[in-house]
Amino acid sequence: MISIVNAVIYILLAPIVGGLVAGIDRKVTARMQGRVGPPILQPFYDVGKLFEKETVVVTISQNFWVISYLVFMAVSGALFFSGGDFLLVIFAFTLSHIFLVLGAYASYSPYSHVGAERELIQIIAYEPMIILTAVGMYLVTQSFNISDIVASGIPIIEFLPGVFIGYLMVLTLKLRKSPFDLSTSHHAHQEIVKGVTTDFSGPNLAKIEIAHWYEYVVILGVVWLFFGFNPVIAVAAIIITYFLEILIDNTFARAKWQFTLKSAWLIAGALGLVNLATLYYLRGGVWL
């Protein structure tokens, strides 16, 4: 059942929630590094400032790519929260990511070019795993619809522990945390400057940031799905998972793309598929 109300609430509130998550992220990171860190509302100040800058582009199409990225990111997230088909949500997200990649290609600096290639590698690294996550949820709840998965009340994590660990890898990739922040990163500039976002400035960069916030809410929402049978546990799980991500981010150095791709696929195959295959087998193997 698709809920339009949820979708609207998501579109209006997700940037705020996502921005707060980003702010808490920076604060905790700073504390881990022995610093005081910026205020929690800092991401909002950043975006506000970016909107105040003039728009400078390399080619006029960049405006189009960025606004499409933002719009489709919001649409995909709205689809997720309105209870739609999990697989369709995943494919809608892929569509929006392609817009960012194309925007990076359009601005033809070598840095954004390499950033775009790496972003594509990241996409193909996590996509199998996240599809397997959706399939796993289907195997447990017999439905691909988010609304059904949430309403089922089944402790999904009990049946999909391997898939969950594999999903943590997806989370690391999507949150652009070390060791998988190959294509762009919020931290100190990397060997390809800002990678995908190199040639975006001002309002365009602000829109990309807001799109990231939309995404944070969704990918943390997927963590909720694993633990949704008990909202308190779910919230705790989200907090612990995110804290874990920050810890990993601060502990590891950036990996090469070869390692990223190989490990993501291996984990997807080993943990994800084995988990699913076991479930499949235990449930009788043939689904009608």
């Binding site: 700073a30 400032k49 105040e52 003039e54 728009t55 400078v56 500039h189 400057v193 190199t198 400035s201």
Partner: protein
């Protein structure tokens, strides 16, 4: 009552023109946990298109003339340029060298000069704070005067 976020989130681009690296080390020290400028929202981006504040150390020589101009152009308005150290201000101890043409202001307009050899982190932070005030003023004049005026203020290269 106009308000800007620029002072709350100034992103810097740090460039070493012909510096001996003394001032650069002090700039990077300012980013370290001891001084922790990130608590003011300052982030060291390596990308002019993302930056608001251009921190330059060192003087201008024939190799970096074009680069400094290029980087300055790529920074979107409003922006401030902060010349750190005496080499950036006037050419410093290298002023008489055959290849050094002087301080940064021979190429791009400078808003704040931070003296020192090497400039201390406290001075650098002080200079940045001054720069933020100038940044805010520029933004407000951008708003009131319209974009065409801002272009005159922002890029004269």
């Amino acid at each position: 009552m106009a308000m800007t976020y620029l002072a709350k989130s100034p992103w810097i681009l740090h460039y070493d023109a012909s510096s001996c690296n003394g001032c650069d080390i002090e700039v990077l020290a300012a980013l370290s946990p001891l001084y922790d400028v990130e608590r003011f929202g300052i982030v060291n981006t390596g990308n002019p298109k993302h930056a608001d504040v251009f921190l330059i150390t060192g003087g201008i020589n024939s190799q970096n003339v074009e680069i400094v101009k290029n980087l300055y152009e790529q920074i979107p308005n409003p922006k401030v340029v902060i010349a750190i150290g005496i080499c950036a201000a006037t050419g410093g101890v290298f002023r008489e060298c055959y290849n050094v043409s002087g301080g940064i202001d021979t190429v791009i307009p400078v808003d704040v000069y931070v003296p020192g050899c090497a400039a201390r982190p406290e001075s650098i932070i002080d200079g940045v704070v001054t720069g933020l005030g100038i940044l805010e003023k520029k933004k407000l004049s951008m708003n009131t005067a319209g974009n065409t005026a801002a272009k005159k203020v922002g890029d004269t290269v």
